[in-house]
Amino acid sequence: MSEAPNTTATARSVEEVFAAAMAEEDVRGRSLWVDAWHRLQKNRAAIVSGVIMLLVVLAVVVGPMLLPWEADFTDWEHASTPPSLETGHWFGTDAVGRDILARTLEGGRISLLVGLVATLVSLVIGVSYGAIAGYYGGMTDRIMMRSVDIIYALPFMFFVILLMVVFGRNIILIFVAIGAVNWLDMARIVRGQTLSLKNTEFVEAARACGVDHRAIIRRHIVPNLLGVVMVYITLTIPQVILVESFLSFLGLGVQEPMSSWGALVNEGAQDMESAPWTLIFPAAFLTVTLYCFNYIGDGMRDALDPKDHL
């Protein structure tokens, strides 16, 4: 405010600023990622969710190898038995004597796999689409984003079901169908981010050096989008898992002998009066997974993109 700080103070402050800058030298290298990691660590819900999630993934990946039963092994002596330690079926068995624990873990593999692959599909489509629209701008952008708006208004779940009806119910198609319909959010976010990135100095510098458009997108735009994209990946995975289990629940998704959490919940719901454990365990795994992913996604968003709402 007062425009004349006295000279000694100025001299001292220059020295101080310099010293402070020296002291901060090692701090200055802190990237967005380190910052985000520190912020994420303070979010207890996200960290706990992350740990639980890791345990679930570990159980699903390693578990089936350690169990004495295959998921499709039918133990006739213990058909439809409640959970017990004596029979060795910790989660009980279903009507034909299959071990629920083994089936739940085996089904979890499919559910998580769908989550990952379909997210990857939507990631590839969404990021390239959004980056191209945002980078080229103008008419290209307008046409591309207008198409996204149009597709956005379509009842997406019904389209996935339509796709399943048309092309039969195989697992590859589930990946592609869900991913192909789920890229719109990603495209929008990435486009917005690209629009603001393309006017930055370093992109201008690259352009001045004669780097061609494709290389600029690949080398300078996309890496800088990683933050937002990471957030949206963690938010997309649970959505995709949910869609898959929704389809499988309706009998339109994964088919026997394969199963997923959704398919298991469906089977369990049919037997729930006589054998509630066939419903409760897969349902619990599915819910815990979705719950954790949502918390991790929330935490990531707060950490990487603090200005975003909610």
Binding site: A153, P155, F158, L250, V265, L279
Partner: protein
Amino acid sequence: MRQESLFHHASSRLLGLVPTLLLLVTISFFLIRVAPGGPFDAEMAAPPEIRANLEAKYHLDEPLLQQYFRYLGEIIAGDFGPSFQYKDWSVNELIARGFPISATIGGLAMVLAFFAGTLIGIFAALRQNRLADHALMGIGMLGISIPNFVIAPLLILGLAIYGGWLPASGWDWSWQRGVLPVVTLALPAIAYIARLTRGSMIEVLHSNYIRTARAKGLPEHLVILRHALKPALLPVISYMGPATAAMITGSVVVERIYSIPGLGSYFVQGALNRDYTLVMGVVVFYGVVIILLNFIVDLVYAGLNPRIRYDEGR
């Protein structure tokens, strides 16, 4: 002036719906027609003549493009054609039978979600970062995370089978049979709306004009009712469009679990039986419903909030 611009906004939006609808019809038509296997594959060992007759009856023997324009014309006339699976039923009749039930459940669920969600959200916002807030939002996250098809069997198990208070399934327009489906459908939306309301309410409560209102000595409940509520509800209003879509999707599952003969049940049955015309009819019909409701929501939003109307995406 404002009236005029609102009208302009409405008509331009309405015009924008045309390509969406056209795309909807076109995609579903061609998807269904490139499908391997026809609807009559199940009629085992049907002699070729009968097959040809069937295909002629449903115009499956015409060139694809001709079929497309025929279908387009029929849809514009509001005719979805006969169902392949339910003999003697047209898709229109099936929609007329199923939709009132689905719409009733969905509408009630929407009303419940709106009121319960905003009330919980406001309550949590007023207790920001206190125990009640954290507890409510934790439960809310659970509500978002638990899928409909997990909540429903659990509710049936607890309230119908063990408790015996409510019928487990079926439909006869009585409130007892309506409670569980409506609650199941509303729960995720309640959770989502509560989170939305809490977030925007907190933001609004930190704004300057609220401080002014408090400073002039207005009692807290009036500050909230008269000044904070309307702007805080705007995000909720704009969520009502996607919420409709979510409700319609959810109704498919809910109707199946509770054995309700709504449109969703027909749709799933049609999908499992490869009943082309029925599946397509429902997709197009629900597409139109979703698009129109989105449009209405958009208008309400623009009417309530002139400030945001023209700078899209803030």
